[in-house]
């Protein structure tokens, strides 16, 4: 395995309280800390392990405007070899996948990894769309990835179990927990990240297929009904007769 591409996104930190502005049409980024998508960190960690010891290189690619560069540098500090930023706002998964596919057509890779989903729009779509655009196999949610020279064995999550799949390179996979432990950048990584190559590529034109028009927040629940620890029978009765869930 010589060349791995890891697709990364820049997402609100997991502790963010999500609010909206402009009559609930814009995500309120005021005061929000942005981070490398946690699932992408898993993909990146596995890519670094697979190429460890000079066996290959790891390129990270992000579709985003200049404000995503801190997240890209974080990926370089963790251990990516170089980075590409496609200079456009990430409109939706289709837009992102299309831009990355165009780049990959000109710059082929042996393996393309993404996170299973981004924690902002929760799509799990980029891996499958890249597979389709590049006519490669794709596995959307994997929890294990082992590789030999010519092929990989992955475990795909299914309801109540897993499938073990062998798959030849090149292919696309979305990584979930279990594939690798995220890596914390060390001081040397942080220093070297500043000088690693980050190429900025301009986007290509693509048709728009979807548009977010507004947001809603979940309805708040009423006051909690506290029940005495000695009266579990009352709880069971309420779940049956009032909530009607058992």
């Amino acid at each position: 395995m010589s060349k791995i591409l890891v697709c990364i996104s820049n997402v609100p930190d997991t502790t963010t309280k999500i609010t909206f502005t402009d009559n609930n049409t814009q995500f309120n980024t005021n005061g929000v800390q942005f981070i490398l998508n946690p699932y992408d960190e898993i993909a990146l960690a596995r890519a670094i392990e697979l190429t460890d010891g000079g066996k290959g290189s790891v390129t990270v690619i992000n579709v985003g405007e200049a404000n995503t560069e801190a997240t890209i540098r974080k990926a370089l500090a963790i251990g990516a070899t170089d980075a590409v930023r496609i200079n456009a706002k990430a409109h939706d998964a289709w837009f992102v996948a299309y831009q990355i596919a165009e780049y990959v057509k000109a710059n082929p890779f042996d393996l393309i990894l993404t996170g299973r989903e981004s924690i902002d729009y929760n799509g799990s779509k980029v891996a499958g769309m890249l597979g389709e655009l590049l006519d490669l196999p794709s596995v959307s949610i994997i929890k294990k990835l082992d590789a030999t020279e010519s092929e990989a064995t992955v475990e795909r999550e299914i309801e109540g179990g897993k499938e073990v799949i062998s798959i030849p390179f090149p292919f696309v996979a979305g990584c979930a927990e279990g594939v690798a432990e995220p890596k914390i950048p060390n001081m040397r990584g942080i220093m070297s990240a500043r000088t690693k190559p980050l190429t900025v590529v301009e986007p290509v034109a693509v048709d728009t297929l979807s548009e977010i028009i507004s947001y809603e927040t979940p309805a708040s629940r009423g006051q909690v009904n506290l029940i005495s620890a000695d009266d579990t029978a009352k709880l069971v009765d309420l779940l049956h007769s009032e909530a009607r869930v058992i």
Partner: protein, 325 residues
């Protein structure tokens, strides 16, 4: 025009999430005065195929051969796209299951369709706009997405639409499609499926526990309560990170988002990341010894008490309820 629903099976049986997706697709077909065509791929018995008519399918396409017995993402996507074209379907509906998450993006590209995945409500069609409400920010919010393309793909979140019965057995037709060799690069070597446990994303009741359980050796009580209720077991991130429970049980922002009818959280304080993954549960019960635990703020019912004292009493009360029911 018609609506195509991909009827997913697990080991030859249709799943509850499939019936939800058919009921949902039927309502979309009704919105548009369209026919509902179902497609099944794999090895499903004829009477089960015909029974999809009971949920509103007017015709069932069956694709069955040895190579397609198990899920092959690329090949399945090609077949569903061909069926959509052959039946003039401009809306394709599927469940946002693990397989559905593999299919929806490939279908979106093949059909040049906008994809609404993680849909939680019926589309709203108003003044030429087609919008779908879907999960966003890992359960902390919803986004209303307009699909501006002529073709549309919608993947429905499990447990978010009620199954509606109505209709009678549907005619089943074999759907013959030439599969490309390049669609079969991946090979399934093994399938491990636990048949005795309720799968977490599909579960109507989830019993979930956190660090308050003190160690993996104490999960017997959690499993006993789950078994009594026919529930799936789940856990918080620190629990799966410590290796007490498998990652597949981790519920929360970086794990699985669930929307069961009943979520029982035991010994989980309720960090914002965990709450995100459970916020669309219909009813939440929290058991925690700390009355100040943030989880109580989003709970419907709560018991302030030590899990090791409350759980045996709760198990006894559920047993009593089951015996009297």
């Amino acid at each position: 025009m018609s609506v195509l629903i991909y009827a997913e099976n697990a080991a030859g049986k249709f799943k509850k999430s499939t019936f939800e997706a058919i009921s949902y697709a039927k309502a979309i077909a009704a919105q548009n005065n369209a026919n509902l065509v179902a497609i099944s791929i794999g090895d499903v018995a004829d009477d089960e195929l015909a029974a999809l008519g009971n949920y509103g399918a007017e015709k069932v396409l069956n694709v069955s051969n040895d190579k397609l017995k198990n899920f092959v993402n690329q090949a399945y996507a090609s077949i569903i796209a061909e069926a959509a074209k052959a039946n003039g379907a401009d809306i394709v509906v599927l469940s946002n299951s693990f397989s559905g998450r593999g299919l929806a993006p490939r279908l979106g590209v093949k059909l040049q369709a906008g994809v609404a995945d993680g849909a939680v409500a019926l589309p709203v069609q108003d003044g030429g706009k087609f919008t779908v409400k879907k999960n966003a920010f890992s359960g902390k919010a919803f986004a209303v997405v307009e699909l501006t393309s002529a073709n549309k793909v919608i993947a429905l979140t499990p447990n978010s639409y009620k199954i509606v019965k109505g209709g009678s057995a549907a005619p089943v037709e074999d759907f013959i499609v030439e599969a490309k060799a390049s669609d079969f690069k991946e090979m399934i070597k093994d399938i491990v499926r636990s048949t005795d446990k309720v799968s977490l994303p599909d579960a109507e009741i989830v019993v979930s526990a956190g660090r308050g359980m003190k160690g993996p050796e104490n999960w017997g009580m959690i499993e006993e309560l789950a078994n009594l209720l026919g529930a799936a077991t789940a856990c918080s991130k620190p629990v799966s990170d410590s290796g007490w429970r498998p990652h597949s049980e981790h519920v929360g922002q970086t794990g699985i988002a669930v929307s069961p009818n009943l979520y029982i959280a035991i010994g989980i304080s309720g960090a914002i990341q965990h709450l995100a993954g459970v916020s669309s549960s219909k009813v939440i019960v929290v058991i925690n010894k700390d009355a100040e635990a943030p989880f109580f703020k989003v709970a419907d019912y709560g018991i302030v008490g030590d899990a090791f004292e409350v759980l045996p009493k709760l198990i006894a009360a559920v047993k009593e309820y089951k015996a009297s029911a």
